[in-house]
Every structure is written in structure tokens, then in C-alpha cells.
Subunit: 330 residues, 4 copies
Amino acid sequence: MDIGMVGLGRMGANMSRRLLHGGHRITGYDADPQAVSVLQSHGGKAAASLEALVHALVAPRVIWLMLPTSQISNTLSTLAPLLSAGDCVIDGGNTFYQDSIRRARTLGLLGLSFVDVGVSGGVWGRERGYCLMIGGEQAVVQRLEPLFMTLAPASGDDSGAAGAERGFLHCGPAGAGHFVKMVHNGIEYGVMAALAEGFDILRGAGFARRETVGPGIDPAHYAYDFNLADIAEVWRHGSVISSWLLDLSAMSLLLDGDLADFSEQVPDSGAGRWTVRAALDEGVPSPVLTAALYQRFSSRDRDAFGRRLLSALRYQFGGHVAGPGPVPEK
Amino acid sequence: MDIGMVGLGRMGANMSRRLLHGGHRITGYDADPQAVSVLQSHGGKAAASLEALVHALVAPRVIWLMLPTSQISNTLSTLAPLLSAGDCVIDGGNTFYQDSIRRARTLGLLGLSFVDVGVSGGVWGRERGYCLMIGGEQAVVQRLEPLFMTLAPASGDDSGAAGAERGFLHCGPAGAGHFVKMVHNGIEYGVMAALAEGFDILRGAGFARRETVGPGIDPAHYAYDFNLADIAEVWRHGSVISSWLLDLSAMSLLLDGDLADFSEQVPDSGAGRWTVRAALDEGVPSPVLTAALYQRFSSRDRDAFGRRLLSALRYQFGGHVAGPGPVPEK
Amino acid sequence: MDIGMVGLGRMGANMSRRLLHGGHRITGYDADPQAVSVLQSHGGKAAASLEALVHALVAPRVIWLMLPTSQISNTLSTLAPLLSAGDCVIDGGNTFYQDSIRRARTLGLLGLSFVDVGVSGGVWGRERGYCLMIGGEQAVVQRLEPLFMTLAPASGDDSGAAGAERGFLHCGPAGAGHFVKMVHNGIEYGVMAALAEGFDILRGAGFARRETVGPGIDPAHYAYDFNLADIAEVWRHGSVISSWLLDLSAMSLLLDGDLADFSEQVPDSGAGRWTVRAALDEGVPSPVLTAALYQRFSSRDRDAFGRRLLSALRYQFGGHVAGPGPVPEK
Amino acid sequence: MDIGMVGLGRMGANMSRRLLHGGHRITGYDADPQAVSVLQSHGGKAAASLEALVHALVAPRVIWLMLPTSQISNTLSTLAPLLSAGDCVIDGGNTFYQDSIRRARTLGLLGLSFVDVGVSGGVWGRERGYCLMIGGEQAVVQRLEPLFMTLAPASGDDSGAAGAERGFLHCGPAGAGHFVKMVHNGIEYGVMAALAEGFDILRGAGFARRETVGPGIDPAHYAYDFNLADIAEVWRHGSVISSWLLDLSAMSLLLDGDLADFSEQVPDSGAGRWTVRAALDEGVPSPVLTAALYQRFSSRDRDAFGRRLLSALRYQFGGHVAGPGPVPEK
């Protein structure tokens, strides 16, 4: 198929290459001309502007946006007036699904189709393929199937496998793709945190060799010195918690068992919050996904004032009018 | 090697078959004679009692216990006097690692070796191999390596891969194997709960079609009707959360999208609690693993009294002296 | 002052009586004529409809709504066209503050003032006074001060204490009163849950007399038989956790130590969810308030499907293709 | 009564003064001679050593220990051989109740009585009285009642109120006092955290004036600028969350709304961990109390390694081999 690709960052560039390799024709645009050149070097065509991109494509056009969340609105404002009824815009970013529902409605009034696609796979996707979660109208999604077939992992096979088994799924109407991707990322937060906590506990298993133990604790129970990289590696082979995130953990720990180069401040990209918000709206408890999210908030000291209040209260009932210092609860 | 296997339940039986298939000689004992017959039918030898088992083996003996946690103490009490210095007992169960530390010490006084092995892989292990986490003295563990080579997943290869890459690891001294398995299971609780919460949120994504939405919620945002089996399947292909537990989720949801046959009361087998206890002793926060554990407690109504107190308080400040019923917070 | 009171349920009726007792003149309306009669018996005037209520008051009117959240919109739609520029409507309910911001804006376009007041105190408020959290324009709030003086606890004193010390506070512009009340209720959820968990742990402190203890637990450590009512009572006297909710706990436990009449399903009235949503929007972690909220969700089995998935996974890796039953993690 | 008081720190000194004021005779010992002098200045007698203290008292002696947890064992080792059968030792510290059970047993073998008393009230206790939670044998506890009557808040009344209503309670056999105090402190952690989170959310309620809001958020909803000291103050008057910890919050916020002098690292003194451990042993969920505890762990960066692992994983699937920086989830 002919596609316009808007946004040639890491994800957009890699997806374009996979699509080119699968026989599709890509015209690409990016604010950074360097990114466009790279696309050209892999066989794509360059557009110098959104206008140029639109003119380079024949209606009914298919334009895939692979942009940061914050740029979608502006790009659509510029793009929509340039397009013709019957054209289709795909948002492949990590967009809040409620925005996608709204955009599908707005673009629909102009006769344009909107498809939201959650894309998972990271930088490994170019070779391994991408997992695609798709929202939009049935007929439009079906028309785009050749793209999804190429991007998804099982692109090369002729096993007759249906979509989900090939790695793409039409999940439902507008926003459904981004909703499912949102929950996917919410789960990802939870799995990452479960691994992080487990490795923290393993790393602390020798604390009695460095600190005095509290009452009810036998120092002989906390005298281990575990090799975390080895443990991550062994779990990859036959254990119940085998997973891709465990593979990545093993790789990280092998490179540097201390992970000294990595930040203790962990960003959250939005999907975690939106997942918890959906849980709240639905009245469904999600303590694990929420704890994983809050840990990231805390890592960035978003509860610093509350902690100072805890200290202040300890001083109040412990008798200190001011000044920090350790005071036992009374 | 020659091994005595005590406990021929699901795990013990399957491990015995994998060991027999790998060329080892097994003499088995189980309180259930039927289980022993099955072992014989696969080429193992039968022992009618622990005494018979000990006598059927030549010193230095290797006896592998594959028993429920609650039977280890009694079995060791019976077994220890029958053994000779230099014999080795392996506990392959889900034993509390502090008990294993104590037992290694006690058996050591008798000149016996004790090795604790955490075994992961479930019923799939017979074919796929087991992930083995091992604690004990270096020399003893090394002597047992042929067993571990056979049980671990990469048993058939001659790639020269080291232990961890083959699926077994000597993690440290006595108790280390059970400690690492404990944390493994703790993580497993967390990953399972992350998946369960995610699917609960997906399942609730159409609630606005059945219930009135609260303030600040647009019913158009919660009108989906997701096919959870398809979503689980698509995530298995190329997504960041690909994992064996996701594979099993997809299988479960495919068989029955409602999971109507399964209990809403979820047991916990001990490892989750012990992991959290280790986190407490170490002073390491583990909100995700703990939330996963508490969810299981709650599923069994272990907080029923506390909930009644919440209701009672609501009635107190809402003005109801007795009797249940919905009262808004004041 | 002259006030119209719309909604004479438990809260509206009690507040009206306190206002009447403080010398204000109340004209009341309620869909239930019985409620209006009761007001009359305490010295208020009756209105048979919203129209009648409006006509009974002289402009600039003050109308206080004390209604369930779900009735505010309709009531305002009826009321607004009947009012004149300069009139003021007060919403004293547990309304989502974002709705109050919107309503202040809408009514403002009509020249009407809107004041949002969070009211705490429950049924005890008639005698003890109500804690009032107020949002709206400075001049309007000031004009209403005589009402707040009467409703607040320190109404009778002439100590010259400022508002906050008397029990009412102008917190900020439109919505501020309901925002502060929302967070108040969020904290209330947390405090209630902390008490409930503590009493659950005290109640469980004799479990070793009824159940087998797990590994690492000495049954002598869990052989207590605490009198929870006495413990709640003693904590009321001089302890750091003295609080009104503890007073109510003591009262509840005294009446029935088992709380047998109270429901294990605990509703949530909205404020808890909104508080957590605000925390999410702000990026502030609120693990305690969120855990308290989720416990209420769980008490109503909102995670039933997720729990079944946990059971299904346990059967999958434990080897059960179908059917419930306890299987240890592998 | 005649009492020996060992440990004249903040708590011990204040309690001694209250006892002296109530007509009891105190002989005091502290490793710091300065502390002993202060006691003398208030009418107590000084002992230069534990031996001297024991000799200054007439059998059957009553010796109250008011010491840090870590000094109890050594002090009892020194003290026990100096005492005579029938003497009684009281531990009024924040001791792990399982240690108290053990000590009661050990001292009992020597014919000595042991009573464990949880003391709440902080520095305010000297004037307001202390809440006392008592464990030990019925007869011994009864003999000590004059002390408890004086220390408890309602010491001066002759209302005929029973113990719990006066502020002291014989909770059960050995360890019961410290168990109940442990849970008291666990609840205290939860209530403190609930307040801290609430004030954090109030403080963040103007974030949209400083930061860009995410999707789905209206900046007009987060434009407040709350006065936290005023809000704490108003809640003290008639609200459902009125409590002593709220009083202390109001006082703290009044002195410095920023709490700039207080530490963001919050210690935990043991009781919080023990409470959660009891919850685990009992199989009772305590998500709120546990979240409050973990927040303190996190405040001291006890999860720093886990956070670095989260960052490492983000780089792995986001394509960064090394080096920190913000990468959106893929």
C-alpha cells in the first residue's frame, strides 16, 4: 500500500523500514530533515511538509501519525483541511483513548476516517514485529489489513492464522485500540514493579552483615550475597515467571549488576495514570497497578511535603518543637 | 546417578520420569502405593517404606524429597537415623527457607548434607524442563550436577552453556535455593495480579451500558465490549508484556471467556507471605507484591470484621443506630 | 437571615433546626410533604414547590440546596429561571467540585451567585455544629457569614475567634469548598480503614487457638482473646490516635462486639474516587487513601473476574485443566 | 507506692513527675547523671546504679523500665540476679511483644513478675495523662493499679469509671500490652499517612498554574491556592476527621506552612513493621497500614535499586543501551 508516515523518530523510523521491507511505499515527513534523509536512504520518499506529503499521496490516502501525544492535536488541525473525504488518518502513538474517541467523531464530520492503533514492541519491533491493538470502523480497519500484516510479528507466515495470532487485533470502535494499549501499559507497570521489588528483596538479603537486625530477626537468615544477574538468567529457563521483561532484566543486570548508570527517578508516560483512572471510573480495584504507578510518583518526590508533615507530626507528639532528627513514636 | 525419590505426587512423579528418561536410576517411595506403581511402570524401582528406600540405595546416598511443606519435618525425623554420614538429602518443595537453614545445620551435625532446591515449571516441567534454584555447600551441589542437568530445560544441549543459562543455579549456602524460589513466587503473585487487574479493567470497559455513570464521566467512554481472549492472544505476539503467565491467561480465556468454573477464593501457599516478611525484615518496600498477597486474603474474606466496622462507622456518623443500608458519607 | 432550604432529609432538616434555633428564618421545600411538616413544627415556613419557595423569599434571595448529588442539576434547571440577578444559590451537598466550578460559571452568566459548601458533622451536627468548607466569591461568602456562624460549632461564643477556629472557612473560589470537603472525605476513608485494619488484627490475635500456624510462627504468639470494645475505649483516653472516629468505633463495639448486624459490603459515595482522581491528575501518590477506596470496591466483589483469573492461572500451571480446588503454586 | 524508675529520658522523666505529683515515691536511675539530678529536683530519690536502686527499694519491689528497645535485654540481665522472688518488673517501652512473652516466661522461672505496658501520649502525657495498655497476670496487674490510676488521664476523677474509661486497660496475659500498643502505633502510621496524603493533594491543587496538564485534564480544575493551616484548623471543629493528630497537624502548619525545617526521610520505629508482620501471620489484609509503612521505607530510598531497574528496563525496551533520560513506554 501507499502510506504517508508523519513522525520519523525511533518508532516511526523503524516501523517505516519494516513496512518498506514488506513491499509498501512510504512517503515520510518529520520536522527534523535528518530523520527524513534516513528514511530516503532506506527506500522511502521524502516530503518537505505536511502539504507536500498530502499532495504526494493519491486519494483515498492513508496517513500514519507516529508522534508524541502532545503533537497530535496540532498536526491534525493542519492536516484535516488538506485531506479529502474518504482519506484515513491513523494515530499510532500512546494517546489518551478519550481523545481518540473525540477525534474520530470530529474527523468523521469531515468525512475522514480515524483509526487508533496501540503499538507495542519498542526498538525490538523492527526485527521481531509489533503487537498492534486497533480501534475504528470495521470496513476501514479491514482495508488497512495489509499494513497490519506487515507490521505484526507473524508477517512472513502463511499459516492462515487469524489476526490475534499474528499479532494484530481489531479491538472495537474508535478509541478501543488506545484503550487496550493503555491497559497493556498499565499491566507493564505492574510487571516491571513486581520484578523490581523482587530484585530489591534479593539484593537486601544480606543486610544482616551490614546492619543490626531488629527484634525477632535472626541475623543468620539475612546473610546471603546473591548474584542477581545469574538469578535473572536462571528464571528465564523454565520458570513460571519467564517473560520478555525478565529477559530484559537479565540483560540489564548482566551489563552492570549495580545498574549504577540508571536514574532513581522514574517517569510515567500517562498510560499508567489513565489505566488507574479507568479503574476508578469503573469501580474496579487495581491495587497492584496503582502501587506501581505511585512508586514512580514517589521516586520523583511528589510526596515530599507529606513526608515533611509526617516528620512534623513525629516531632509534635515526640516533643520536638522544631528541627529534624530521629524520634521514636510515643 | 542413583536417587531415592520420596513423594510421587504430581511434581515428584513428573520429575522422576524426566530423570529416568535422562538415564538416572530412581527408587521411589510414596505413602500412596498407587503412585509407586506408576513410577514402576515408567522404569523406576519401588520401595515399600522409607527404610526400604534407604536400604535399596548405596552410600553415599542421594534422597530427594518432593513433599508438601507440612510433611518435611516428620519425614526427616524418620529418615535421618537411617542414613549414614556422607549421605545427602534434597528438599525440592516450597519450604520456608529459614526452616531449610535450620535443617541444614541439624543434619550437618549428623554428618549429613542438606540441599534445598526451589523447583519451578509446574506440570509443564516434565517436557519443558524445570527451573532449579539451589542452596547448599559447593562441593555437594557440584556432585549433584548430573541430576540438575537432566531436570533443567536445556538438558539435551551440548552448547557448553553455564548453569544459569541451562536453567539451574547454585544460588548460595543453605536456604539460598528456597529464598530465591520464595522471591520468585512473590514476583509470580505480583505478575498474576497485574494481569488479573488489567483484564478486570478491560472487562469493565462497557459498564456505562449497564450502570449510571458518576459525575465527571462520559458514558461514551465506557461503551466497549472487549473480547478478552483475543486481547490476551494478541499481546502474546510482540508486546512488551509477553510472558508465560500471559500465555496461560490466553489459554484460560479461550476455553471459557467467563472463567465461570473457577473459584473467587484464591489460596496463598506461603511463599507470598514469606516474601513480604523478608521485605519487612529488610526494610524494603514491596507495595506491589504485598497488594497481590492481600488481594488473596481479601478474596477469602479475611477482612470481614473490618468491613463490618466500616459499615458500623458509616451508620454511626450517618445517624443510623443499627441495621444495614446505604448511607452517604457526611 | 431569610433562607430558602431545598431538601429536608436528615442533613437538611437538622441544619434547618440549628438555623432556626439561631434566629434565622427558614422557608423549606422537599418533595416529601412529611419532611416539610416536620420543619413547620420546628418553626419554619413551608413551600409547596420551588416556585412557591422563590416567591416566598425577597430578593436578593439565598437558597440553600441540601440534596443528593444526582438531583442538583435538575433542581438548578428549574430554579435558575425563577431567580433574579443578585440571588444566591448554595450547594451544601457532596457534589463533585468540577461540577460546582461549571455551575458557578453558568449561573454567573445569569447574574446569580453560586456558593459551594462542604458540610461535615453528620447527624451529630445539629447539636455539635457543622464544619463548613466554603467556595465562592469573597463578597458573597461574606454576606452569608451569619449563616455560617450559626451552623458552625462555635456559634455561641463571642471569643472573637476567626472563621477557621469557629468551624467555617472560605477556602477559595468556586469549587474550593467541595474540593476541600472531597479531600476531607478521602482522609476519612483512610482513617476509617486504618482503624478497621487495626481492629481486624486485634481480633485475629488468637488465631493459633483455632488454626494450624504456618512455618516460622510460634502458636504462643497468637493466643490472645482481646476485648475490642475495651481497647477502643482505652485508646480514647490520652492516646495519640484519639479521634472522633475512634469514639464512634468504641460506641459501635460496645453495642455489639461482633458487629453482626452490619454489612460486609461497603459503599463508596464518590468523594473517595474523586480524591484519588485528583491525586492522579496532580501526580501525587496517595497509596493509603487509594487502598482504603479499593477495599470498598473489593468488598462489593468488583474484582470477582480477576480473582477467577487468578484461580484459572493456578490451575493452568498446576496442571488442572478445569474445576476449582486448592493447588499450591509450583 | 514505692517505685524504682530505670530510664529518665523524655518519657521516663515526665512519667516520674506525674507519679510524684500523684503522691508516689520514686527512686530513679539513668546512665546520664544529669537526668537523675532533674528527677531529684522534682522530689524523687537518686540511685547511682541498678544495684543501688534495688537496695533502695523494699521487697516486693516494683521497678519500671522506660528504656529504648535495644537496652531492655542487657538491663534485665543485670537486674534479674539482684531481685528477689515476688518482685515485679514493668517494661513500659515500645518493645516487640514476642520478646515480652519470652521475658515474662524467663523471669517467671526466677519467681519474678513481668508486666508489659504500652504507653501512649508523648510529651503531652505529663499534663494530659497517658493511655496505658497492660499485659500480665491478673493479680500482679491489680496490685499495680494505683500507679496506673495516677498515670492515666482521668487520674483525678472519682467518677467510679472503670479502667478503660480512665485510660488504662489490662488487655490480657504477657505481651498483650505491647501487642495492643503495637497495633495502636500501626493505626497511628495509617492515620498520619492519610493526613499527609490529603494535605499533599490540597497542596497540589494549583499545579495547573505551574505545569502543563495532561490529556483529559482541564487546567481550571487545578488552579487553587489553599491555605493548609486554615484548612487543618477548620477541620478540627465539628468534622468527622477531628482527631489529636489533626490538632498536631494544625499546630505544625500554623508554625510553618511549608514545614521547611522537617526531614523528608521518615524513620520507622519498629511497631509499624511488627503490626504488618502480625497481619501476615494472621492472614489478615492490612493494605492501608502497610502502605503507610512502605512510604516511610521509600522516603529513605530503600527501593533505590529497584527504581534503577525500572529505569534500566525502560531503556532496554525503549532502545537505550545506557545512560539516563526520559523515554516514553513503548
